[in-house]
């Protein structure tokens, strides 16, 4: 039977099947290697924040015991730190767009969100100590596949980016994923009565739900 197949006109189908499977296998292997490499890169990139996480914890200890005389220098350092985290976040966003959110990435992302939340709480503390010298603008967004929400969020992110570029060191902009089921985020959402993502929290007083015009946001910052 095997001999008949090998010597008959059916042989072409077996041969082609072999070549096709070989091509698919090579394609899959190459694809997986590329995907695996990129996922690792994202995870590694997130891991770089581990030092920042320790750094920010120590900053928190310092903020609690500091006096007003060091406010200027501390705020300056806080901005450098916040800007660094924000810019790294933008770069990560581009990597994430090209990848599925794997479990490994998700775990690292949660750590990154916690770091940003800690930065936010530190900034609040700093504002209290130094009598409101800057604005905090927390942008709580959703990790969603919903097209309309994605468009809405892209629009808000673009407006906030512009405002941050314009205002510079007057504001700390903190985009935070609000639906990663993290206790501290859930707590903040309850405190500020946030039931809809995306929302913007300005100076822990104003909550703006959904898309807002640039002027509307700026109104609370001037």
């Amino acid at each position: 039977m095997v001999h008949e197949i090998v010597t008959s006109k059916y042989r072409i189908f077996i041969e082609t099947l072999f070549f096709t499977l070989l091509i698919l296998l090579i394609g899959f292997l190459m694809g997986f290697l590329v995907e695996y490499g990129r996922t690792n890169k994202i995870v590694e990139y997130y891991r770089e924040f581990e030092v920042d996480a320790l750094d920010i914890t120590l900053q928190n200890y310092y903020y609690q015991s500091m006096d007003e005389s060091t406010c200027k220098e501390t705020i300056k350092q806080n901005f450098i730190f916040a800007d660094e985290i924000y810019n790294k976040g933008l770069l990560l966003e581009k990597y994430e767009d090209a990848n599925e959110l794997s479990d490994a990435i998700l775990l690292e992302k949660k750590k990154y969100v916690l770091l940003k939340t800690e930065l936010w709480l530190n900034s609040v503390l700093l504002k209290q100590k130094c009598e409101q010298p800057f604005h905090t603008l927390v942008y709580l967004y959703s990790q969603t596949d919903d097209l309309i929400k994605e468009a809405e969020q892209n629009s808000i992110a673009d407006i906030l980016r512009k405002i941050k570029e314009e205002k510079g060191n007057e504001i700390i902009l903190l985009p935070i994923a609000g639906d990663l089921d993290l206790d501290i985020i859930n707590l903040q959402k309850r405190i500020y009565n946030i039931t809809y993502l995306p929302s913007i929290i300005i100076d822990e007083k104003i909550v703006l739900k959904g898309y807002q015009k640039e002027e509307e946001i700026k109104k609370y910052l001037d």
Binding site: I12, T20, L24, F28, G31, A98, I148, N154, K213, E214
Partner: protein, 406 residues
Amino acid sequence: MDKIIILYSVMFFFGIYFLLIFIILKFRNGKTIYDYPEAKKFPSITLITPAYNEEDSIADTIKALLDIDYPKGKKEIILVNDGSTDKTLVIMKKFAKNHKEIKILDKKNSGKSDSLNQAIKIAKGELIAIVDADSYPTKDALKKMVGYFEQDKDMAAVTSKVFVKNKKNFIEKFQDIDYRVIAWSRKILDYIDCVYVTNGPLSVYRKEVVKKVGGFNTKIVTEDIELTWNLMSKGYKTKMSYSAIAYTSIPKTLRAWIKQRVRWNVGGFQVLSKYRNYFLRENLFGYFVISYVSLSFILSFLGIFLLLRFFYYTIFKYLFTIPYIMQGYNPFIFMEIKFNLTIMLILGMVFLLFSLFYHKMALHEAKNNNIPTIFKYIFLYRPLYIIPLVIALYKMARKDVGWYTK
């Protein structure tokens, strides 16, 4: 694994598999593509042309039939007037007056299949050649086909290569490419005895065999495909002579093109349905032809689904931002190109490369066989296939195929 990735993988698997079959067969047999068995003794042949309201083309077709080079006294021509309401019959009679080999069968309109069956009944030839009323075989075409029948008693049908006659506008030029690709791929399948369509512009059949299998089916709109499948399912052989050429008139407008392709698709569905029990049974017809044709349809639908999904995720995403664009949002952010080297992209590139290679080989005789033309053919013309396919499916679902048959 994501369901969509599975769908893409299935599509790429079968797509690459079928393309490779053609490419490998071409490399193994390509040198003999123009070969055909020379006929030693020429059997008598009856050329049959059924016509319904073909006053614009019938005269040229009759001239072409008369010009065909074949031993004297062995060629008979039967022109069937299928109840035409124009001057078709008048033109036929004019030719018949001066040429004794022409016979006219004038009958009430009953459709192409019935016209052919009636003509076969009175045909005297050992072989019959079917020529559409808007087609024009070249002088030497028959001589390059009849030799196949001497080779093998089981040889039931031999088909020819069809070129388009008129090719001026977009739709005509791309049909020209289409016909060349179809002809080449059909010849490649000839190497594994899988010529599953004997075309209407010029195909030759062994008359006794056609009679034995019941002639042309009057209930199926693509009677030529049905007859071929009928013959193959009964173990008869079909071949293609790549050197035998027939020119044919093609639809000049998109509307006419859609109508023609709807008929082809409806016919395709009908024969698939009729011969479904042969699937993966007995011979190459069951194992390959039915699988190949049904998978072509399935892959087309899969392609439609994935294309619609693509539009949904790109165009709609863009549309959803319109309210935000009106608020001053920069829409060009969505136009950022992300070169994601994913598995699907790699497989997609492999598929595209094979596809380009396949079309390049298929268009070896065409003047315009450069890569940009092939790209236009693949990405502009081929997606149009979706329209008649969907219409055909709709008509089949509604059992609305009566307007094609009598």
